[in-house]
């Protein structure tokens, strides 16, 4: 008797996540795997000189010269309240582009290491988790991808980088 019910709830979950299925750029922060929708990723560049911008949030590493265009670079580890990124030869900047109400934003995201481009099917994507009532808002997580026993947090980069959500997140984690 229980079987049809489970099947139904599963299928609706799959339907809800159908739009999430696609290719993701997988990267690492510390020991965790994350993914960014490939359509938001413009390019990956090696670490270059970052000019510190004073009087900005700590997670903003500064600005770089991307072929004549000045773009900000953020340290995703610091944004998530982790230890600042220690640069190694694996450290790269993922250049993302997303649109907001204020227009297109191009931004560099400093990550420990990029891994590969993964194709994730809807049935391998779980809805975002809840971190409990009074802890952080998980709005910026689109879902959780399961690939080869790995768990990949699929990020909505626009949400991560803009708005109060992210602000509150930092406060919640550091508090």
């Amino acid at each position: 008797m229980n079987t049809p019910v489970t099947a139904k709830s599963n299928s609706s979950g799959v339907e809800a996540n159908a739009h999430l299925a696609g290719k993701y750029m997988a990267f690492r922060l510390a020991n965790e795997d994350y993914g960014l929708a490939i359509l938001k990723v413009r390019e990956i560049i090696g670490l270059m000189d970052i000019t510190r911008v004073p009087c900005t949030d700590a997670f903003i590493r500064g600005v770089i010269n991307l072929r004549g265009k000045v773009i900000p670079v953020i340290d995703l580890r610091m944004k998530f309240g982790m230890e600042p990124c220690q640069t190694t030869d694996q450290t790269v900047i993922i250049v993302v582009q997303y649109s907001t109400t204020r227009g297109e934003i191009t931004m560099g995201v400093l990550v420990d290491q990029v891994e590969e481009v993964l194709s994730i099917n809807a049935d391998k994507i779980e809805p975002p988790p809840s971190f409990g009532a009074n802890s952080m808002n998980a709005d910026f997580i689109l879902g959780i991808g399961k690939v080869d026993k790995r768990v990949i947090f699929l990020l909505d980069i626009g949400r991560v980088l803009s708005g109060d959500e992210a602000e509150r997140l930092v406060q919640a984690v550091t508090a």
């Binding site: 000189d49 000019t51 510190r52 009087c55």
Partner: protein
């Protein structure tokens, strides 16, 4: 409700309406707020019924103001402005007598205005084919150019008398307008242009003289055509019928009467001329009609119209050329293409300097390579000049608008004035030219209203009754100066101080330098005017000047001599795309300071350094005590030099205030292409942008105005800094 409270609400409303721009939602919201206040005041009761009726006429128009985003058209605004004008007059009358006949008499007019407004809300929709729209577009831009030329000629005629050439020039303008308008079946414009042309033709034949009343009517006709063109533009954009014009008949009658026998006819809508500039010798002037209440709203409307006059493409009109203008061959190019070309040239300049300065090249270059490189540098420089030149426009167009406006202002304020223009051919970046008109409007209004004295006062002071305002543009160093000098009464230091104290802008015991006192007039809401006039005095103008000029990375300075006049000097960059900057080092970081803001740089000796309470650092530069700001502390750099005598102090000036900025050293001086810092950084105080340096890294450009402003506002901020270095010198 006490009468003065009602008065102040009406005043505020009138101020808001005058400042309203149909495209500026914020200003429209301000008007709405004022209308709400008025509604509350009326609902509270106790007002004379006449006043209530007038107020209701204004309120009836409120719904025609576009809700957020919906847009508001100029016609709605002018209807509102008329209604408010009537309300003002009514309120003034109500204050004089308890049972005002005048106010009562105005109710029907006000109601008619409201009715007209409501009947006009649904103009008939018209579909125009693409070709017609294209033709109308061309007609609009051509006519606007022509009207600009007409204004210039009219002003020359007003001062120097009519010449055959001038009359011909005017005739041609109206003739062209008539021709094309006729073709486009714009009956009203055609009729007006035709009637004006007929009169001008008589002047051309020599049977009539273009002066006085006839000159005025041509001025009015130009203004009317311009207004109708603006309405036409709106009508085409909205795809509605071109509305018929109410005041046209009066103007046509005046024109016809003046064509027939030359007897001046004063219709109620005639432009009052209490302060016409003195007519050239030999021309008698008609006695000026009294300023009638009915003329008020239309005057108000004129004023706004002058302020929103559409930009006339310049470069066509030489100064003082009258009717004969020299045409330059021009090509129309998409602005975006020009901009991208200029941006690429900017990049080229940077890359060129990267190549030339690369250590590998410097090390290995032979004499021949060096020669080629210097050639490359020269060509790049030339290319940059040409590229910049493509964005340049002479300031003549803007100056011309100011001339027209000052004429109208002089007439409204009852002061005689002459605007002398100089250096109209000076060229500036087109985006600067576009943004300079607004501040100039406010500055001229300010000069007319506060600067120049009324004729009697001038006579007593032994000055010519006619005040002179000199508007000039010239190059100074690497920047452009726009100077506005009046020969009026000068700034009243004590009045400014007293007003600033009463407004709480400064403390009762604050000691301010002369420059600081002058800068007070730029504070928002500051006005020493005892009376708010139609022209100015509401304290909204000068802060606009300051904000706009600073947005253009320019500076404002004031010099004034009591009794002799005031000079405002706007120091503007040649272009917005490139600045001359000084690259300074502070610890590991490099920053660019705009050379325009730098007065000098000095290596201080120990005896120049002063501290107060061991924390507030100051530097004594030849007797001038300036606050000393440590860039390292401001920007949180840890590895900068802490001993000022080992470092360098750059003396900067921003918002009229000087300060010393402590940096480690000056690295070099270079031109940089300004880039936006990009979105997503959040607020970047103290920085105005970024630039790619010669080594390909990003350099940050320091916002001197912000630092200077902050230093003076919060003198204690070095004390609040937790760094232990704060106490060590």
């Amino acid at each position: 409700m006490p009468a003065f409270l009602m008065d102040s609400i009406i005043e505020e409303l009138a101020a808001a309406v005058v400042m309203t721009d149909a495209n500026d939602q914020e200003s429209i919201d301000t008007v709405r707020r004022c209308l709400n206040k008025l509604r509350e005041a009326v609902q509270a009761g106790g007002e004379p019924e006449e006043l209530v009726a007038l107020a209701e006429a204004c309120l009836a128009l409120e719904m025609r103001l576009g809700a957020s985003g919906a847009g508001t058209d100029a016609e709605d605004l002018s209807a509102l402005s008329e209604a408010v004008g009537r309300l003002q007059v009514g309120a003034a009358a109500a204050a004089k007598s308890p049972k005002p006949a005048l106010a009562k008499a105005m109710i029907p007019a006000a109601a008619a205005g409201a009715n007209l407004a409501s009947s006009a809300t649904s103009p008939q929709r018209v579909t125009r084919d693409e070709e017609t729209v294209g033709l109308i577009g061309e007609f609009l831009s051509e006519s606007e150019e022509g009207l600009g030329r007409a204004d210039q000629i009219l002003m020359n005629v007003e001062h120097g008398g009519a010449s055959a050439e001038a009359v011909n020039g005017l005739f041609r303008v109206f003739h062209t307008v008539k021709g094309v308008a006729g073709f486009l079946e714009l009956t009203e414009i055609t009729t007006l242009a035709h009637t004006t042309e007929t009169m001008l033709n008589r002047c051309r034949e020599g049977t009539l003289k273009l002066a006085d009343e006839r000159l005025d009517v041509v001025f009015d006709a130009t203004a009317m055509v311009r207004r109708m063109l603006a309405e036409l533009r709106v009508a085409v954009q909205d795809g509605v019928q071109f509305a018929t014009h109410e005041n046209l008949e009066g103007l046509l009658q005046r024109l016809r009467a003046l064509t027939e026998d030359g007897t001046p006819v004063i219709t109620p809508a005639a432009r009052p001329a209490p302060a016409a500039p003195p007519a050239p010798a030999g021309f008698a002037r008609e006695p000026a009609p009294q300023l009638e209440p009915a003329a008020m709203p239309s005057a108000l409307e004129n004023l706004r119209q002058t302020m929103t006059m559409t930009a006339v493409p310049s470069g066509m009109q030489g100064p003082e050329t009258g009717g004969g203008t020299k045409l330059r061959e021009t090509v129309k190019v998409d602005l975006e293409r020009v901009d991208s070309l200029v941006a690429m040239v900017g990049e080229l300049v940077v890359v060129e300097s990267m190549v030339v300065n690369a250590p590998e090249i410097a090390k290995s270059a032979s004499a021949r390579v060096r020669k080629y490189l210097s050639q490359l540098a020269k060509v790049t420089r030339d290319l940059q000049d040409v590229g910049m030149g493509m964005r340049m426009l002479p300031v003549a167009g803007v100056f011309q608008k100011m001339a027209r406006m000052s004429r109208d202002l002089g007439r409204k304020s009852g002061k005689q004035l002459r605007l002398v223009l100089a250096g109209e051919t000076t060229e500036m970046d087109r985006s600067i030219v576009e943004h300079i008109a607004d501040p100039l409007v406010h500055m001229i209004r300010n000069a007319v209203d506060h600067g120049l004295e009324p004729p009697e006062e001038r006579r007593e002071a032994g000055k010519p009754e006619e005040g002179t305002i000199r508007l000039s543009a010239y190059h100074e160093g690497g920047s452009i100066v726009i100077e506005l000098a009046d020969d009026g009464r000068g700034l009243n230091r004590d009045a400014i101080l007293a007003k600033a104290r009463s407004q709480g802008l400064i403390g009762p015991n604050d000691i301010l330098s002369e420059a600081d006192i002058h800068m007070l007039i730029f504070a928002p809401g500051f006005s020493t005017a005892k009376q708010v006039t139609e022209v100015s005095g509401r304290g909204v103008g000068m802060d606009v000047v300051k904000r706009n000029v600073e947005a253009l990375r320019g500076r404002v300075s004031i010099s004034t001599t009591p009794g002799q006049g005031t000079t405002f000097k706007l120091l503007l960059p040649l272009t917005l795309a490139i600045i001359d900057g000084m690259l300074v080092a502070c610890g590991q970081d490099r920053y660019i300071i705009p050379t325009l803001s730098i007065i000098e740089s000095i290596q201080p000796s120990q005896d120049m350094l002063v501290t107060f309470a061991d924390r507030h650092e100051m530097i004594n530069v030849r007797g001038q005590i300036l606050p000393l700001v440590r860039l390292a502390r401001l920007f949180g750099a840890s590895d900068a030099k802490s001993d000022p005598t080992q470092a360098l102090v750059v003396i900067l000036e921003g918002v009229g205030r000087r300060l010393g900025l402590l940096v480690d050293e000056v690295v070099t001086q270079q031109q940089v292409v300004i880039k936006s810092l990009g979105q997503g950084l959040g607020a970047t105080r103290f920085l105005s942008g970024a630039a790619i340096l010669a080594d390909g890294r990003v350099g940050l450009i320091i916002n001197v105005e912000e630092i200077a402003g902050t230093t003076v506002e919060r003198r204690q901020w070095s004390a609040s800094d937790p760094t232990p270095a704060a106490t060590s010198l």
